[in-house]
């Protein structure tokens, strides 16, 4: 029964199939932007003194155990974020390490914690919505009761943030959730709450971005007022401020750093809600160079082009069924003929 026509029909089905795996930009998914009321942090590496108060406060706020990496197990000494450590301050070292915030013969600090992406790879990757982005605050949260532990979020994140607890038979993913569980109690992110220099500042991402831009415009070494704890929104009333327990006016006079002219997180992957300023180039302090288009957008564009409304799979199934019906019946007949 193998006629030329059947073969051509098969080719036709093959062509329809090829069409299903060649993405076209027909249903292109744009990179998401930060929600207007997005909350975040501004980390200014030039203000950071490396005291690690934020690391300790984060441990406490998230009820995480100490991790020991020194011989004497006296205090918490995590080397990186982990399933039990959601925030650490890393150190850049070069040459003689004499000057703070100098690329040559200097040292510098960098905070490592969740960036709360506008368009998070982890949220796109998670098959069971255990990683989710709050539609209002934009905080990327995690629900262990939903999680299946596949660790696709760990693999997907360009910042290496979601981490899994490999030491437990019921291990969870651990990551910074911007202390969302404390917001209702009047506490914002513990790291910002305890930061003595305002190097880590909590606030609305929009306000933090404006503050970062302001600092970049100032002359290095110039004295200016630096907020601490939380950056109030412009025109914030005393009533609105009363939502938070920490005192409102904690600003002090400090000198402006010699920043590289870049606000990390302004455009990376469509922007992040945590923003960073640094005097040492970001690539050298472990922040990856990311394009403005998120990989989540690219991935979902491919998926939705192929599977949007199941149109393409159903069309291909129809073609395959049509062709298979003719060919399988023929095959069945020949078998019957033999019996």
């Amino acid at each position: 029964m193998a006629t030329r026509r059947d073969f051509l029909r098969g080719c036709l089905a093959g062509g329809a199939v090829a069409a299903t795996v060649v993405p076209t930009p027909a249903v292109a998914r744009d990179t998401h932007e930060r929600p207007p009321e997005a909350l975040g942090l501004l980390y200014d590496a030039t203000l950071c003194v490396g005291c690690q108060a934020c690391v300790a406060a984060c441990k406490q706020a998230n009820d995480n155990p100490a991790e020991f990496n020194a011989l004497d197990k006296l205090w918490d000494s995590p080397l990186d974020t982990s399933g039990h450590t959601f925030n650490i301050i890393k150190m850049y070292r070069h040459g003689t390490m004499t000057t703070k915030d100098s690329e040559e013969n200097g040292f510098a600090f960098m905070k490592t914690s969740c960036m709360h992406c506008a368009d998070p790879s982890c949220v796109s990757a998670c098959p069971v919505t255990a990683m989710f982005k709050d539609p209002v605050t934009g905080v990327v949260g995690y629900d262990p009761d939903a999680c299946i532990g596949c660790r696709y979020c760990v693999a997907a994140c360009p910042f290496g943030i979601p981490k899994y607890q490999y030491d437990s038979p019921t291990g969870q993913i651990g990551k910074c959730e911007l202390c969302r569980h404390r917001h209702d109690e009047g506490h914002y992110s513990a790291c910002a709450e305890v930061c003595p220099t305002g190097a880590t500042l909590f606030g609305r991402s929009e306000d933090l971005l404006a503050e970062a831009r302001r600092r970049l415009k100032l002359q290095p070494g110039q004295w200016t007022t630096m907020p601490r704890g939380r950056l109030p929104a412009p025109g914030e009333t005393a009533e609105q401020a009363a939502k938070w327990k920490a005192p409102r006016d904690q600003q002090y006079e400090a000198q402006v750093g010699d920043y590289v002219p870049h606000i990390y997180g302004e455009t990376e992957y469509g922007g992040t809600q945590v923003l960073k300023l640094s005097a040492v180039p970001f690539a050298k302090v472990g922040m990856p160079d990311l394009p403005p288009r998120s990989s989540a957008a690219t991935s979902e564009t491919i998926q939705h082009t192929l599977y949007g409304g199941l149109l393409m799979p159903l069309a291909v199934l129809g073609a395959l069924t049509f062709v298979a019906r003719r060919n399988v019946v023929a095959d069945d007949d020949s078998e019957k003929g033999g019996q």
Binding site: I148, R151, A296, G338
Partner: protein, 384 residues
């Protein structure tokens, strides 16, 4: 009608207990012991997994590579039922059997790797499911395909147990099951490649591309034919049967065709994206890229001519080359070309390797048992 177009399938027969099955049994026992440790003490107790490499060989080898190796059934069924090449029909059942086990075990193997496996059902539950996730599509599609394959293969059991009515009923619907059994692997074999996309710049540009779904699909189909060459040769030698050369020769030609298509897309994409330069950097990634390319071109040197295709040894080696090429394409994208920054390393632990070996042993053992007791391989005339 007096004569069959081709030999009907029949059980091979013979003893079930022999050296091969005994070794398989031991490997499986070791695997079970390791898995018990894993489920009591966690993934860290037996694996070298870490947050820089959260996916090790249990995902990349057992699932991503394992399911591609299980594409023989899909590739041959497509050839027979969609392109109406009925002459390959005797190859369908053995190929489908290997696929059935490859996929079923890949599905079971996922559970070993899931950190919170008791929530696995969430993938199928609408309030949890995330249709934006590539993993969601892969999981759903593979699960559906495992089901479809058992239905596709069930005539073997129905024949053995003499359930003629059930088989007749099933035969009427078989065309739809076969269509579904062709569509589903296309969907998830391509999506297994798409899994890489969201990982972004962490994946080397030699393997990070928007056409990765097409590359994984074309390579999976090609591997499917490579596997059939491999399996037919191994089954013939192990059971001392004649090699089905009249089928394998033209099948090898089909394989070279799909391979050419794959290579055209592969190279065209690298050139179009301007990523070819990475292949000439003095890196491990560039080296394994060329290794992958070499393995995918070797078949043309081995079985490029009709005369060469008459040599069963060459067909076998060409099949193995395709399989190794498929291994490297996947290993390179998911592990060797996946870089999460300085300080992260991964090489599978002995325990991880033994579990993967144990999974392979289950496949071999089940293949032996089923082909000896159920009508899968074509009836051997010399046996009568």
């Amino acid at each position: 009608m007096s004569a069959h177009q081709h030999a009907q399938p029949a059980p091979v027969g013979g003893r079930l207990f022999n050296t091969a099955t005994f070794v398989c049994g031991i490997l499986i026992a070791i695997m079970v012991a390791i898995l018990i440790t894993r489920f009591i003490f966690g993934l860290g107790a037996v694996t070298n997994l870490n947050d820089g490499y959260p996916w090790g060989i249990w995902v990349v080898v057992d699932v991503v590579i394992g399911s591609a190796f299980a594409c023989g059934g899909f590739s041959v069924a497509m050839l027979v039922y969609i392109f109406n090449k009925g002459q390959y029909h005797p190859l369908v059942r053995p190929a489908l059997l290997a696929s059935l086990f490859g996929y079923t075990l890949a599905g079971v193997g996922v559970i070993f790797d899931l950190g919170r496996w008791w929530n696995f059902w969430h993938i199928f539950w609408p309030t949890y499911a995330n249709p934006n996730s590539v993993m969601f599509e892969v999981a759903l599609c593979i699960s559906a395909y495992i089901l479809v394959m058992w239905i596709e293969f069930s005539p073997v059991f129905l024949e053995k147990w003499g359930l003629r009515d059930a088989k007749k009923k099933l035969n009427k619907l078989l065309f739809f099951v076969i269509a579904l059994g062709t569509l589903l692997p296309m969907m998830h074999q391509s999506s297994l490649g798409t899994l890489l996309v969201v990982m972004g710049t962490q994946v080397n540009p030699l393997w990070q591309t928007p056409v990765v779904p097409l590359l994984y699909l074309l390579s999976a189909i090609t591997i499917g034919y490579g596997i059939v060459l491999f399996e037919s040769c191994v089954a013939s030698s192990a059971y001392r049967r004649q090699i089905e050369m009249h089928l394998l020769q033209p099948l090898a030609k089909v394989m070279l065709g799909t391979l050419a298509l794959f290579l055209a897309v592969r190279i065209g994409d690298l050139v179009a994206r301007g990523a070819f330069g990475h292949a000439f950097a003095p890196t491990l990634e560039a080296f394994v890229f060329w290794l992958e390319m070499l393995l995918f071109t070797v078949p043309y040197l081995l079985i490029g001519t009709a005369a060469a295709r008459r040599n069963p040894a060459r067909l076998f080696v060409a099949g193995v080359a395709i399989m190794l090429g498929g291994i490297f394409l996947r290993l390179n994208g998911f592990l060797i070309g996946y870089d999460t920054g300085p300080g992260w390393n991964y090489f599978p632990s002995i325990a991880e390797l033994l579990v993967t070996l144990g999974m392979f042993a289950i496949e071999v053992l089940a293949y032996i048992i089923i082909t000896r007791r159920f009508p899968v391989l074509p009836r051997e005339e010399a046996a009568h």
